[in-house]
Symmetry: C2
Subunit: 223 residues, 2 copies
């Protein structure tokens, strides 16, 4: 097998020939850092479930839509989050902050169906009246979603899920006058590969880019 230690350039055949765990770590490191969120759901009987996801993405702002990829269900295993959201039609996304990373990672263990990950990890379920999925009280950005579309992807048996934003709990004091959330200020985490959790700096912002004009930093307006 040819790894990144042997060659600077891997072909598709090289990647297919990698040992499984090496390939999983390498390909999950692509194409960079990913958002870290906890997905909250409940069964029709009210049993709560919480699981960490990182294949989460913006689809549109109007209507407000977020997408996610749910991994396949190998024989003998269960996908409680997917089963619950398909059954109830609702779920929550809760941004993971630095203080939440150990509990969030622990939610990825194979807990039995009867065990709520809220109880197991010490995170606190928060309910909004009339919405049948639990939010995470410790998260400063809590998003309520209704299931809009569900597409099983035959290419690798994953599931592509589109949710419509039904509610947003705004993080206090970190939304600017133009609607931007200061994600650094709340300590929003990113994930690398399968097991890395990272904090993010305050960063820089740029004006809307125009052809044939140099890119301008937003903060130079006030200097």
């Amino acid at each position: 097998m040819t790894t990144c230690s042997d060659a600077k350039h891997l072909t598709r055949a090289d990647i297919e020939g990698l040992e499984g765990r090496y390939r999983a770590n390498l390909i999950n490191s692509l194409p960079g850092f990913k958002p870290a969120v906890l997905i909250g759901t409940a069964s029709p009987h009210g049993d709560t479930n919480l699981a960490i996801f990182s294949s989460i993405f913006h689809i549109g702002a109007n209507p407000a839509l977020l997408g996610m990829i749910v991994r396949p269900n190998p024989p003998g295993t269960e996908r409680h989050s997917l089963e619950n959201l398909l059954a109830t039609g609702v779920y929550t996304m809760n941004v993971v902050t630095e203080a939440m990373i150990e509990a969030s990672h622990h939610s990825s263990a194979r807990w039995p169906r009867s065990q709520s990950e809220f109880d197991a990890t010490g995170l606190t379920a928060l309910w909004h009246e009339g919405f049948d999925a639990p939010f995470v009280a410790e998260s400063p950005i809590r998003i309520g979603l209704s299931l809009a579309e569900h597409h099983p992807l035959t290419i690798n048996d994953t599931h592509f899920v589109i949710g419509r934003v039904e509610s947003l709990d705004c993080p206090e004091a970190v939304v600017d006058a133009e609607g931007r959330i200061d994600l650094s200020a709340i300590g929003a985490q990113v994930v690398s590969g399968l097991d890395g959790y990272h904090s993010v700096d305050a960063g820089v912002r740029f004006h809307y880019a125009k052809p044939n004009e140099a890119v301008k930093r937003l903060d130079t307006d006030t200097q």
Copy 2:
């Protein structure tokens, strides 16, 4: 209109009632930081195109698949990246590092079709023999993809594109023995909202999580 300055909880109706730019900034800030990559394509005539994307996500490691969302094409505008990759069947993803952020942001301007964003931004096109899309020489993680699936999403006229990894240029010296790429070491950037670029710290890694066992940090093995 009710904004995050007025209420800690916004309903779907509140979000639909927001001023357009405020809503775009707010919803694009969800659900946290996003990967920053440059998508490289070429027309069937060989004209090159480069554009920054952040709705990019892992779909699977075996086969190695990456997904992306391409925004809709309002009347009178063009989507050069999508047209090119549909025509040639191939495209590249190139991870954006700190040194590349101004050039990468500039790629988002509405350049005319005849203008290569490589020339306009000063980034360098790199070609692999037999692969009809340009890579970005300045990026340490360069991924060659073939178009596997294209799904126009009728819910908001965006496009869901699945690519199969055909090649990977490994970043030298930052892939560990188990296949993890040290994304912090290469300065991989994340995006917040529509205009923020951020660096990421070295972070922490955890062992595979198990029920009823405390989460363990990987680096405590060596302490």
